[in-house]
Each structure stands twice: as structure tokens, then as C-alpha cells.
């Protein structure tokens, strides 16, 4: 199976690799997946007082599509409000990266990571976590 150009681009030049200070109250961290399954994504967001995401970083253990999905997610998150970030759907990632059906789970994981990061931020700041739909994988 050949990879799409966009997957190769994100894989070769991943955007926003790195680590934010997870102890900061402005930072939300989402760690999803499991080493046994071959995918672990850690996605972090930094949020300002207006609920806008000013920075996003990731690290991912996984295949090329998983790395590309999380790289793309960080790109999309920067500058978005929390509400807009919550609305990112895994199928948007599938479409943008032209992921084949066997790689859809990578996009699901990226969506889960976004939501986990937002909830971590909310809980840290005294807000109730948003009830998530039972994830579809």
C-alpha cells in the first residue's frame, strides 16, 4: 500500500513535535492508545484566557499514518477555540490525509487525543470534563 503525499509530508517533516509543561494550568495533555496495540499518541495544548489554543505539540509512537494524523491535528488546533477544537472529527483527518480504511483507527486516535487534552485542561481549571461519546473503534 502506498502512502499519500500528505502522509509522507507530515511523516517526513512532522509539525509541532515536542513537549509542553504538563504541570502548567494552561496546558492540557491527552495520552491515548496503548503500546500493545502499536499506537500511542500524546497531544498537548496550551490555552489562553480567551479559550483559544495558542500552542499544540505531539509525540506519537506508531505507524506513518498515526504520526501524520497527530502532526496534522496539532496544525489544525493552533489558533482554534476550544469549542472549535472539540468539533474536529476524525473523518476530516481521513479526508485531508487520504487515509485508507485500514488506517482510519489512526484518525480516531487523533480525535480521541484532542478530546482527552481538552478534558485534561478543563479538569485542571475546575471545569467538568465533557462527556464523550463512546469512541467508535
Amino acid at each position: 500500500m502506498a502512502y499519500s503525499d500528505k502522509v509522507i509530508d507530515h511523516y517526513t517533516n512532522p509539525r509541532n513535535v515536542g513537549t509542553l509543561d504538563k504541570s502548567s494550568h494552561k496546558v492540557g495533555t491527552g495520552l491515548v492508545g496503548a503500546p500493545e496495540c502499536g499506537d500511542v499518541m500524546r497531544l498537548q495544548i496550551e490555552v489562553d484566557d480567551n479559550n483559544v489554543i495558542t500552542d499544540a505539540k505531539f509525540k506519537t509512537f506508531g505507524c506513518g499514518s498515526a504520526i501524520a494524523s497527530s502532526s496534522l491535528a496539532t496544525e489544525w488546533l493552533k489558533g482554534k477555540s476550544i469549542d472549535d477544537a472539540m468539533a474536529i472529527d476524525n473523518m476530516d483527518i481521513v479526508e485531508e490525509l487520504a487515509l485508507p480504511p485500514v488506517k482510519i483507527h489512526c484518525s480516531v486516535l487523533a480525535e480521541d487525543a484532542i478530546k482527552a487534552a481538552i478534558n485534561d485542561y478543563r479538569v485542571k481549571n475546575g471545569l467538568a470534563p465533557i462527556e464523550l461519546e463512546k469512541s467508535h473503534h
Binding site: V32, C37, G38, C63, H105, V108
Partner: protein
């Protein structure tokens, strides 16, 4: 040096140009049906087949009458296992094999189970070798066949075939071996090794795809298998179907070349493999999978912890290798062979198999070392698990969300 570099010689090998050359006349001038007994064209084709039969037999220390040509090792495995099960059903219905066998053996055994047979799937030790005491304990008066591979396709470990054969024979069972990865790479001798049936394939030893053979012992004991395909009764009634004459001639030539060159080639390849392996295991948290002493000369299977195999292969884009990662398999399950060594799933996901071959050069190995090191480092920079490991966090202490 041309890119990409092929280091997946356990999957298949390029056909040696000398083999191609030997085959070519059998497509155009010598195209006869080897079963046409009454004219020149048939005789010429039959001559080609007879000669190939001798070449194959010589490589494994057999007699040419003991070689049955097939379409490849999968067919040979099926014919041996199902054919013995059917032929010896009055004697017993129990077969012993191992969990690390090729799917062709495992699935043929599953078929036998559906037909009412009993199959024992022996576990293997951490180094991939069968435990002889466990084999001995699994033998029953009903055991008709022990089927254990010679060399493993994923990790390259070589089983103690002679001892396995002795145990099988002591209990009155036959010993079959899938020697697809071993024949032509290391000396295999059906008499020295006590083999009653042996499967081999041309395309793993620089011959063409679509042709292989099954060795069936004729003396001490005389082994018979029930044909699995009905037809013209070719190959002493054990395998019907017009012979693939060019393919068979190619298999024969491949065996002849292997016979002449195998010894020096094994020395060259094991030196290159060891160079690759030592250079890569210098990397932190990298582990060689399987027994390193009893191993085919051209294979190294290495796990690079905290990076995922498919992602790694993508970074090694000018290298053709293979991985035990789930992402590279149709089933999305990590390699069952690596898991049966007791490797945790994450290490199985992190494995890369390097398979060197006749046309691999030292320059290519040097390049592969550099590319692999860079790729592992790049991916570890991206890996949250590597970061946690470096911070001293025990990954087992984290509650992972299985998905």
C-alpha cells in the same frame, strides 16, 4: 549502488540470471509436455525434468526418485501433512507441530483437525527452539507425523532436526520438515538429518516462483502420501498436473548453484549479517530476536524498543525489509512467531527483519546500517514512550486505554 536496497530475501529472492538462462529454452524450443512419451518434444522435456530431479536430490542428499515436483512449498506442506494423514489413518490420527511454523503447515494441520485428526501445537522456548522434552512428552501411540520446520522464516532459528527426527522415529512416527528457508542456505541432508518428508521452494533460493518440491523417503521406511489432486497420475501418482518444465529446470539449476556456492556464500553472508547486527545493537534498547547461535546465516530480526515497526520502515524508505508490526499484516495482529517467543506485543510491534542475500553487497549493508540508525533516532525523537523511558517512567505503571 542502486536504491532501493533489497533486504527481504526471506520473502523471496531474485532469480539468478544463470537460472533464467537455463530456463529460457524450455519456453520456446523445448516446450514439450514431459508426459508425452512418444515423440521428441516430450523426451526433451522429460530429460530436462530428470536432470533437474537429480540436481534437487543432490542438494539434499536424496535419490532422484524421491523428489516430487509441486507448485511451491505451500503445496508441498499441504501434500505432506494431509497426504500422510490420509495414507496412515489406520495407524493413528495424531500430528505434532510447533506454534512458530509457517501458515502453510499450521493451516494444513487445522484442516486435518476438521477431518477428525488431533494436532498438538508445541510451544517454543524463548530462543525459538522446540523443547525436546516437551516433544517427547507429546508423543503418543497414535502419533503418525511430527512436522517441525528446519529454519524459521521470521527469526531464522534452526531447529535441532536430527534430535526431533530421532524422537519421532523412536515412537514410530514420520518426521516431516518445512525446509523452505534452509535448503540452499545451509547443508541439509535427508539421511544425516533423519528426514522422511521435506518441503522446499525455488524462489527462496534464487529460482523462479511457482515451483517447489516435496521429498518423500523411499527406503527405511518407504513413505507414501495420498495425492491431494486428482488427474493424470504424474509424479508417481502423488501429484497430478502437467509438469512446469521451465520452472522445474530453473529449480534444478538453482539447486546446482546453491550446492556449489552455499558454503562460501554462508560465510560471506554471516559476516555481513553480524556486521549489521553488531552495528544496530549498539543502539540503546535494541534486541536480537531468537537464538543467535543456531541461526540461518543471512537473517537478523531486531526489535528497536519504543518505535513502531511500520513507522520505522517508512523512515527506511530506501530499504526493503519486513516487520512483525501489526500494521504490516493483513490481520492487524503482531507477528505470532515473535509473540510465541514470549515477546511482549510492543516489542513485536517494534521488530524489523533484515534478510540478506546472494546479491547483497557490503556497501549496501553499510548503507542499511546508517539509514536504520538514523530512522530509529528520528522516530525515538517523536516517541512519547521513548521520552517516558528516558524520564525513568515505568510504562507498565500506566493504565493504557486498550483500543
Amino acid at each position: 549502488m542502486n536504491l532501493p536496497i533489497y533486504l527481504d530475501n526471506n520473502a523471496t529472492t531474485p532469480t539468478d540470471p544463470r537460472v533464467v538462462e537455463a530456463m529460457i529454452p524450455y519456453f520456446t524450443q523445448k516446450f514439450g509436455n514431459a508426459a508425452s512419451r512418444n515423440h521428441h518434444f516430450g523426451w526433451v522435456a522429460e530429460e530436462g525434468v530428470d536432470y533437474a530431479r537429480e540436481q534437487v536430490a543432490k542438494l539434499i542428499g536424496a535419490s532422484e526418485k524421491e523428489i516430487i515436483f509441486t507448485s511451491g512449498a505451500t503445496e508441498s506442506d499441504n501434500l505432506a501433512i494431509k497426504g500422510v494423514f490420509e495414507m496412515y489413518k489406520d495407524k493413528g490420527n495424531h500430528i505434532i507441530t510447533a506454534v512458530t511454523e509457517h501458515k502453510a503447515v499450521l493451516d494444513a494441520c487445522k484442516h486435518v483437525e476438521k477431518l477428525g485428526g488431533k494436532v498438538t501445537y508445541l510451544p517454543v522456548k524463548e530462543d525459538g527452539l522446540v523443547d525436546l522434552a516437551e516433544l517427547e512428552a507429546a508423543m503418543t501411540p497414535e502419533t503418525i507425523l511430527v512436522s517441525i520446520m528446519y529454519g524459521n522464516n521470521e527469526i531464522g532459528v534452526i531447529q535441532p532436526v536430527r534430535q526431533i527426527a530421532d524422537i519421532a522415529h523412536k515412537h514410530g512416527a514420520l518426521f516431516m520438515t518445512d525446509a523452505t528457508q534452509a535448503v540452499g542456505k545451509i547443508p541439509v541432508d535427508v539421511n544425516r538429518d533423519g528426514i522422511d518428508l521435506l518441503a522446499l521452494s525455488a524462489h527462496k533460493m534464487y529460482g523462479p516462483k511457482g515451483v517447489g518440491a516435496l521429498y518423500v523417503r523411499r527406503k527405511g521406511p518407504r513413505v507414501k502420501v495420498t495425492a491431494q489432486m486428482d488427474g493424470g497420475g504424474h509424479e508417481r501418482g502423488m501429484r497430478s498436473g502437467t509438469l512446469n518444465v521451465p520452472g522445474i529446470v530453473g529449480l534444478g539449476k538453482a539447486c546446482e548453484i546453491a550446492y556449489n556456492e552455499m558454503e562460501s556464500e554462508a560465510i560471506r553472508l554471516s559476516a555481513l549479517r553480524d556486521k549489521l547486527q553488531s552495528a544496530l545493537t549498539v543502539l540503546e534498547e535494541s534486541y536480537v530476536n531468537g537464538n543467535v547461535e543456531h541461526r540461518l546465516p543471512h537473517v537478523a530480526n531486531i526489535s528497536f524498543k519504543y518505535v513502531e515497526g511500520e513507522g520505522l520502515m517508512m523512515a527506511m524508505k530506501d530499504l526493503a525489509v519486513s516487520s512483525g508490526s501489526a500494521c504490516t499484516s493483513a490481520s492487524l495482529e503482531p507477528s505470532y512467531v515473535l509473540k510465541s517467543l514470549g515477546l511482549s506485543d510492543d516489542l513485536a510491534h517494534s521488530s524489523i527483519r533484515f534478510g540478506l542475500g546472494r546479491f547483497t553487497t557490503e556497501e549496501e549493508v553499510d548503507y542499511a546500517i546508517e539509514v536504520t540508525k538514523k530512522a530509529v533516532t528520528h522516530l525515538r525523537d517523536l516517541s512519547p514512550l521513548w521520552e517516558m523511558f528516558k524520564e525513568g517512567i515505568d510504562l507498565n505503571s500506566i493504565e493504557w486505554a486498550e483500543h
